[in-house]
Amino acid sequence: MKTQYIGKPVSRVDGLAKVTGSAKYSADFKVEGMLYGYIVSGSIAKGRIISIDTSGAMSLKGVLQVFTHENVSGLPWFSIKYKDMDAPTGSPFRPLHDDKIIYSGQPVALVVAETFELARYAASLVHVSYQEEDFTTDLVKNMDQSYKAPVGKLGYVSPKSRGNADEAFDQAAFKMSGSYQHGAEHHNPMELFSTTAIWENGKLTVYDKTQGVSNCQFYIGNVFGLAYKDVRIISPYVGGAFGSGLRPQYQLFMAVLAALELKRPVKVGLTRQQMFTFGHRPVTLQQLQLSASTDGSLESIKHEAFSETSRFENYTEIIVNWSGTMYNCDNVKLKYELVGLDMYTPVDMRAPGAVTGAHAIESAMDELAYELKMDPLIFRLKNYADEDQTEEKPFSSKELIACYREGAEKFGWTKRSIGPRSMREGNQLIGWGVATAAWDAFQAPARAKALLSIDGKLIVSSGTSDIGTGTYTIMTQIAAESLGLKIEDVTFKLGDTNMPLAPLEGGSWTAASVGAAVKGVCEDVKKKLKKMAVKTKTSPFYDTSSKDIVFDSGIISDVNDSSKSISIVDLMRIAGVNSIEETSTSGPNPINKMKYTFNSHAAVFAEVKVDEDLGIVRVTRVVCAVAAGKILNPKTARSQILGGVVWGISKALEEESKMDHQYGRFMNHNLSEYHVPVNKDINDIEVIFVEEKDDIVNPLGVKGVGEIGIIGVAGAIANAVFHATGVRVRNLPITMDKVLQIAEDDKNQVAV
């Protein structure tokens, strides 16, 4: 077969539409007679609404309605109806449900008007009076309230301990203990959340920003008592989401509520400030204790994590479990607990849990390597895990050693001097750090439909989402290759509940899940074409064996005799077939899943320069070597890793949502004060994909690259900062004050 697209750096098929502005994002849809909604956000963290005065707003000409808990009725009383597919255990937030305020920034009213400007102005005239109650939002002060994290959230597995880590720790020759702290973070995709809802002839059409159209359909159907078939969600383009679009956000509820009530199309968007009011990466405290014998073999790992959640839902993520699988160790003790606070429920954010756990584990490994006076990379190799000790299963594939080797070589790791503060350039202290990353290679059931028409064009569709990762492109590649078509003849469509069901777009599983469905359905079409080729009397393949038929660039030919051929178009014509339509479902192989652990891996090497006097840290070089199975498209995959590394730098050095516990409110709620890296902060980033063949993980041999790029970065940088300065900052982000150790209230760091 000659047609080859899989593994090629095909440019984004949606690139032109995006750069020319013809790609429509949810806020771009305009409908005749559309109204605009503006949400009023609450200002207290806990209490009751005593009254809402909407008279000022309602008196303006052009304001149609102000929705509040006082005039919204007829919605389900039971909170279970508000559960979406990604909801943790607990009782979901119900917008405008009653007078209770349960977190700061809670939406308390929706103003609907003829124009956006009017709605916004009217919203400023809505006066809410509250009766405040005591609240608490500080994880550190509420550690005594912690409780065991319950199971029940999609993908969450409780940690498993083994051996006797306490005893091993007490007896070991070398040990370390450290506590690590992570601040809250918000996803802050460039595109703000926005929904346009249209209610027409008993049917609801909704343009939404989401990572799962079917999840929104399910949610809206249940909350508003509509049949799923009467709710259509459309979301062709998403300007970043990073997990924030996994759960239906409250603007969706608001837009639908208003459209149903007012019987006119309604658009509701969130402001940047409101983007800080519906879920975040939680503040987490971690304790790590590791021990090793004199030869550097790990004797014990003790890892505890405490994360904040809301009072109404138990948001859980996998933080400590990674300590059981990353390295070889017989004595592992793990604990993960939650603390309920007066805030909104956290929500999955790129590499949830892993990015938090990995920073602590990888810092701790570095600390122990220094105790042992061992090179931190050699220490990791010494404790390399050949199999998953937690589940006692082999990995379907694990080329992490190749990541270490190729990454170290590219980085020049062997030139590293081992001692802290041993490399400098004038007043810049130079440090090199390394860290490991691992992530699950999930696959979920997905469906896809293929429609091949007589002009030789193929349309494949599946109700998945492209949050900017390149889903459109890789699915087009897979389809073109599977059916032996030219890529120009293939169109992939997504983001519509009228399309076959696909899982939520998250967890780096879309390439594997939807990819398998696309491959499967194209193979079904191929089978039909083969059958047609051997059954049609005038076909050159009439009455021959279909085994010898190959497909390439839209031509069907004999594998042994290339002169014997016919185009797909001609074959369909002579067979008198106008189109071929197939739908098929793919899912994980349950036996393989039972027998093996599926993980992607990466090794990250970072160089920092730290200003000796001012404590300013710059990341001057990063090499990220990734083992993620088959790379479908090295160009889009590289972009995923680059984005992950940039975000890792952000997490390590800059990013934090600052909560004022006097108000229980995030205060730096704009992109001027919520820092993410600017161009000048980012220097050399090198991405390496190591060869990793995996026939077990899924039919395509892919593991996904959406999260693996971010996971190891903060650890590598923190370790590099220690190597540069001799200061171990265990509290992210590593800002200059912490490096300088002059923040008086920060006792979380030790000088060496």
Binding site: Q273, L614, D660, H669, N679, M736, D737, I742
Partner: protein
Amino acid sequence: MNSFSYNKAHDVAEAVADIQEHEGARFIAGGTNLLDLMKENVMKPAHLTDINRLDLADIKENEEGGLTLGALVTNADTAWNERVEQRYPLLSKAILAGASPQLRNMATNGGNLFQRTRCYYFYDTATACNKREPGSGCSAINGINRIHAILGTSEHCIATHPSDMCVALAALDAKVNVTGPNGDRTVEFGDFHRLPGNTPHLDNNISQGELVTSIDLPPSNFTKNVFYLKVRDRQSYAFALVSVAAALDLEGDVIKDIRVAMGGVAHKPWRRREVEESYIGKVASTENFRALAETMLTGAVGFGGNTFKIELAKRAIVRALNEALKSGENL
């Protein structure tokens, strides 16, 4: 955002008259600060007098032998102006350390002087803030105050003035020309901004009806040994935690004159001429710079989150002066 009326003025007289006529009116220039504040309901002017059409967009020679910067010259055009670059490199560097190219293209010199603090609470109407709502209290004192002031604070407000440009203007002894209902006046730069005291709602000593028309720069010998150091949480597009405008006029290694102004540490650019003067005639050395820095920071008080700034500011002064000494080669 509130509703407001709007008028585009054609000359200075009309602008000054227009603002007198409307209660709660404001001038609008580039709009990069005012519009943000209006969208957040922090400022709610009932009327806007647009001054963008006024003839104040030139950079001219002045009688003293220095340059006069029109109030409507953009920050970008000022920073990249050849005469400014050659004669007032400190000012160019300071402007370019601020904001982003897009913002500097819109921001005007006049507007820059009036930009308001970046205190989180000032921007969030759900919280108490004496600057926004006098008498409501200061949330920052016991709240998140990493970016707040360490010098000249009061129990009513610990906000900083966020400008970079103004730090250089303070160092260079600029003067601000103002036209108001009572005619023209000139304000020394050091008297332009205020300390919070018990009137934190006032940022400066200019009344609402007064229009800044231009900024005078006196002739300056600080053309070679200058440096603007901006210490911030990322490499660009962040306000200063501490910034230092440092300038040396040297004879050999002896200080003929010296200027040190700090940003990000107080409600106004922080400069103390008497401290500078006490180093005239002394050798330009790290020891002397450190001693000067200690004196500059006398009286500094931290509020927890920002306490690190006290030591950081001292180090920043030393670094900036040392860099200025090296003729600012690696600017």
